[in-house]
């Protein structure tokens, strides 16, 4: 079971504002989905290693060589709010 207050809290953690209707809908739906996920409790995985990546390789890094990057105007082109060559963010507080 997952309660409406919990959904509201998780919505805040995920930075998604939910309407009252969404909270009610998710309360029902998420509980049944989480119940479904609980089938995994039937399996004993005490001695099983987790698989993060199926082909089991570690990350590789390329040579650290300078390359041409996007220009400032290209980077800012999609920004909804910008000022003096910067992205304009909302105030912190």
């Amino acid at each position: 079971m997952i309660r409406k207050e919990e959904i509201e809290h998780i919505g805040w953690l995920a930075r998604i504002e939910l309407s009252d209707a969404e909270k009610e809908l998710f309360e029902k739906q998420l509980s049944s989905i989480l119940d479904y996920f609980a089938v995994l409790d039937e399996l004993d995985t005490e001695d099983v290693e987790p698989t993060y990546h199926v082909i089991g390789i570690k990350d590789v890094v390329r040579e650290d060589e300078p390359k041409e990057a996007l220009s400032q105007s290209e980077v800012l082109r999609n920004a909804p709010k910008k000022e003096k060559g910067y992205f304009k963010s909302p105030r912190m507080l």
Partner: protein, 495 residues
């Protein structure tokens, strides 16, 4: 010009021999799209595509043009793949108007080989769905029956091929998103081995599961497209590691090009199919609809009649309900982290008046994401939150190990596995969308493949009441070529 049954190989040969005008072909495709009721595309690339087509017609006799593997071939691109200068939305309101400043690696490869990008195809928002109904831009319809879904999430790509609104298409597949719509729309779609095709420029949903893959009307075109998009790319660390490993054989297909750049298919049907060991895991076939079961067995018997060794096997440890739960937990957990970047600061939706930092972003994300995306981010955030990590995410990763082992065991005895792609044919629009869990269950035969990271192809194998059925062939890691050859054999045997 007749668009029906026009293959990519026909187009390349036709343009080179002067029998096909690329400009005419592209014009005809846009006429078809503009008359269409299917809603396959979110954004069209018309002016640019026509310009490129004219250039192909003008320069087709130049040496480097003659060598282009996809010279003048129209291709539709799923809207989860970044295209420089062409709107890319992932079918979400939050990315409406976003114009990527760079091309995905696969797009660079396509342009280099002379393909013509027709437009960006409709999909489930951020690839989250099985029907293409979660798109902000409205659902795509199934060309075989307009009242039905095309499958998803790459529904626009599959429907566009089926309706001849393109010749080729790219999809992306996290848990079946290429194979499901291929099955529902009666086209071919392949999910490569994890790490086979560069993900650079693919908008991430669940990194440890997803791959970009080819979609086409037939197996040979699928092989041709896979050849092109599997070009080496150092910007995907998984991919480069594999391809730097000289011992690893990663030949994409049996296609060869002669000195005059004409294509040659190097497959001896009789030799290929004789002794081919095909396992049919009963766990993947016992729960499907009777029509699908019959059609898939008929397909398997065609291989058997031609000399393949077919065996019904059991992957006992692979209870599909565990695979589904493990898949969804991993996918939503990765999604909740990946989709944190969409906040309207650098691109995408921004609401008029800013409030403080957290409230501004919460409102943008509440407004910009659709219901299914919110549901999965909330679930994923919950699964990763303090106290639940071990119960959900870590547990799912351990179960994934069991599933992977199950496939490895099966492949000790079998060359490939055959099974239905989907448990049923395409259903009605609106039929399942209100019940998310019932939709998740529809992915039961496709998600285990992504968990194991093996390659898999869906090929049309019959109809039920006029609706296509898909046969899924699953191969060993990096044996794309084997399942492509088997698919080619099946197409040939089916006439």
């Amino acid at each position: 010009m007749k668009l029906d049954n026009l293959t990519a190989i026909d187009v390349v040969e036709g343009i080179k021999s002067g029998n096909i005008s690329c400009e005419e072909l592209v014009c005809e495709i846009y006429e078809r799209i503009e008359r269409s009721k299917l809603n396959c595309f979110i954004t069209l690339n018309k002016a640019n595509a026509l310009e490129k087509a004219i250039e192909v017609d003008r320069r087709k006799n130049e040496e480097d043009y003659r060598r282009k593997k996809l010279l003048g071939v129209p291709i539709a691109i799923k809207d989860s793949i970044s295209t420089r200068g062409l709107q890319t939305t992932c079918a979400s309101k939050i990315l409406e108007g976003y114009i990527p400043p760079y091309d995905a690696a696969v797009i660079e490869a396509l342009k280099c080989e002379g393909a013509i990008i027709i437009g960006k195809t409709n999909m489930d928002e951020f690839c989250m769905g099985t029907t293409t109904e979660t798109s902000f831009y409205g659902p795509t319809r199934n060309p075989h029956d307009l009242s039905r879904v095309p499958g998803g999430s790459s529904g626009g790509s599959a429907a566009a091929i089926s309706a001849c609104e393109t010749v080729l298409a790219l999809g992306s597949d996290t848990g079946g998103s290429i194979r499901c719509p291929a099955s529902f729309c009666g086209v071919v779609g392949l999910k490569p081995t994890y790490g086979f095709v560069s993900r650079y420029g693919l908008i991430a949903y669940a990194n440890s599961l997803e791959q970009i893959g080819p979609m086409a009307s037939n197996v040979t075109d699928t092989a041709l497209l896979l050849e092109v998009i599997s070009a080496k790319d150092e910007r995907d660390s998984m991919e480069v590691k594999i391809k730097n490993n000289a011992a690893m054989n990663y030949c994409a297909s049996s296609l060869k090009w002669d000195e005059d750049a004409n294509i040659d298919i190097d497959i001896d049907i009789d030799k290929e199919v004789k002794g081919m060991k095909i396992g049919v895991p009963k766990e993947f076939i016992e729960g499907v609809s009777p029509a699908v079961k019959k059609s898939v067995w008929n397909a398997v018997h065609k291989f058997e009649d031609s000399g393949a060794i077919v065996e019904e096997i059991s992957m006992r440890g692979l209870n599909l309900k565990y695979a589904l739960a493990s898949y969804y937990i991993i996918a939503i957990s990765e999604a909740s982290s990946n989709l944190a970047r969409f906040d309207g600061l650098r691109y995408g939706l921004r609401l008029g008046k800013d409030e403080n930092w957290h409230t501004t972003f919460s409102k943008i994300r509440g407004e910009g994401f659709g219901e299914e995306v919110k549901r999965r981010i909330i679930l994923g955030t919950y699964a990763l939150s303090a106290g639940y990590y071990g119960k959900y995410y870590l547990k799912a990763l351990k179960v994934r190990t069991l599933i992977k082992n199950e496939f490895e065991d099966a492949f000790k005895k079998q060359d490939m596995l055959a099974m239905p792609t989907m448990p049923f044919v395409a259903f009605e629009l609106g039929e399942r969308i209100k019940d998310p869990l019932s939709l998740y269950l529809a992915d039961v035969n496709t998600v285990p493949i992504n968990l194991a990271g093996v390659p898999s192809i869906s090929i049309p194998c019959g109809f039920s009441n006029g609706l296509p059925i898909g046969l899924q062939l699953v191969g060993k890691h990096f044996e794309e070529n084997e399942i492509l050859k088997a698919g080619f054999v099946f197409e040939t045997l089916s006439g």
